[in-house]
Amino acid sequence: MKHDQAHEADLARLLTEGPGALGSALRAELDGCPACRQTLERLRLLEQRILQDAGLERELLDEARREARPDDQDAVRNALADRNFGRRSGARPWRLGLVLLSLAAAVVAVILLRAPESGQRVRTAPEVLLGNDFELRVVVRDGRYDAFEWAHELLPGESYELSFHELEGELVGATLATHPGLTIGRYAPTAEEEARLPERMGVTVTVRDGENAARARASLTVSRR
């Protein structure tokens, strides 16, 4: 049987419209044509391969949106900042230090969380610790974010960057405001800014060195209700 343009058109219909696109007589004709059989088999395999690739891409992108960590955005910012500085940040030597700091901070956090209430009118809002390198807390007074306080000592050239984020479920979402260049462990929002902040949000304090590389970080979710 001679493979011709009509066969090509029928193959195109099979691929784009599915197996039901052709009547049984036409289908039998294609099945009897070795070139058509081979082409169809190859295109079906290719289709499977593309579908697999598209499926993997969808799964991974969904996973990445779901599981993005608060420090992922910092990693992006740092990498882009490093690009501007023309060098790569030395992440490795700091990793062990950060892990040790995290462990120490976790121990301190557990002790603090278990400490008895002091009876002050000021309360610390409900918070979720997210692997912090130092203690970070919010002071809520009369249903307002009164101040954000953290306990960390800066090295020469370092500063704090405080940022507020929207929350998408339990995940940190878009950045609402960023306050870089802070040098003391306390920030009190103005009344105007406080009014713009949501009832519930994420707060992150990042310690940055003179080249804007992140050296330590603390994050928590806060609510003023």
Binding site: L15, E17, R42, E47, D53, L60, A64, R83
Partner: protein, 194 residues
């Protein structure tokens, strides 16, 4: 908003960033935050060929390389999809370099390990990379049709509306594109071995 509208919006965002506008740059940085997690997930799916510290380096390298390459984004696919291809390529290049440094062992123990592993292993990544590389070499219109059909999951009627062509025209061009792609990927093809 249709898939092509989304792609056009992505292209407008990238162009604004390249023009040095601050607001869009912030938006883009927000959107890029999926990259570290995508690389982690991809590495996990491929059987952890890279260690965590290599992944951290790869994240930085990917971002550093991506920024100047943004000019190459033409809006043919969603921005995240285009960047995902970039991540896949970066990860597989790193695996390739690693393999050159440490030639694969053919000891019976290693071969047995390969047979019992549940994940597809890094070779599956090379297959995905090869497919994407061939898609990039297709004529732009054909690649776009294949992406709209399989990656954006559009019907030919929807594709026709997006591209302002009759569905029959879209189908015919799609079929040509698939045949062309299949030829590019055929073992031994000059293009495939490039």
């Amino acid at each position: 908003m249709t898939a092509t509208d989304t792609h056009s919006a992505d292209l407008a965002l990238v162009r604004a960033v390249l023009a040095g506008e601050a607001g869009p740059t912030g938006v883009l940085v927000e959107r890029l935050r999926f990259i570290p997690c995508a690389l982690r997930s991809l590495n996990r799916r491929l059987g952890q060929p890279l260690r965590e510290e290599d992944l951290a380096d790869l994240t930085q390298d990917t971002l550093a390389l991506l920024w100047p390459r943004l000019e190459a984004y033409t809006g043919q696919a969603a921005l995240e999809s285009w960047i995902y291809g970039f991540c896949l390529n970066g990860l597989m290049n790193t695996v390739r370099k690693q393999r050159r440094r440490q030639p694969a062992s053919t000891s019976p123990e290693d071969l047995a390990d390969e047979l019992v592993r549940e994940d597809p292993g890094p070779d599956a990544g090379f297959e995905h990379e090869r497919l994407r590389s061939a898609l990039e070499r297709l004529p732009e219109g054909e690649a776009r049709l294949i992406r709209l059909r399989y990656y954006d999951e559009l019907t030919f009627e929807a594709i026709g509306r997006c591209l302002d062509v009759p569905p029959s025209t879209a189908k015919a061009a799609f079929y040509r594109g698939m045949k062309h792609l299949e030829e590019l990927l055929r073992p031994g093809s000059r293009e495939e071995s490039r």
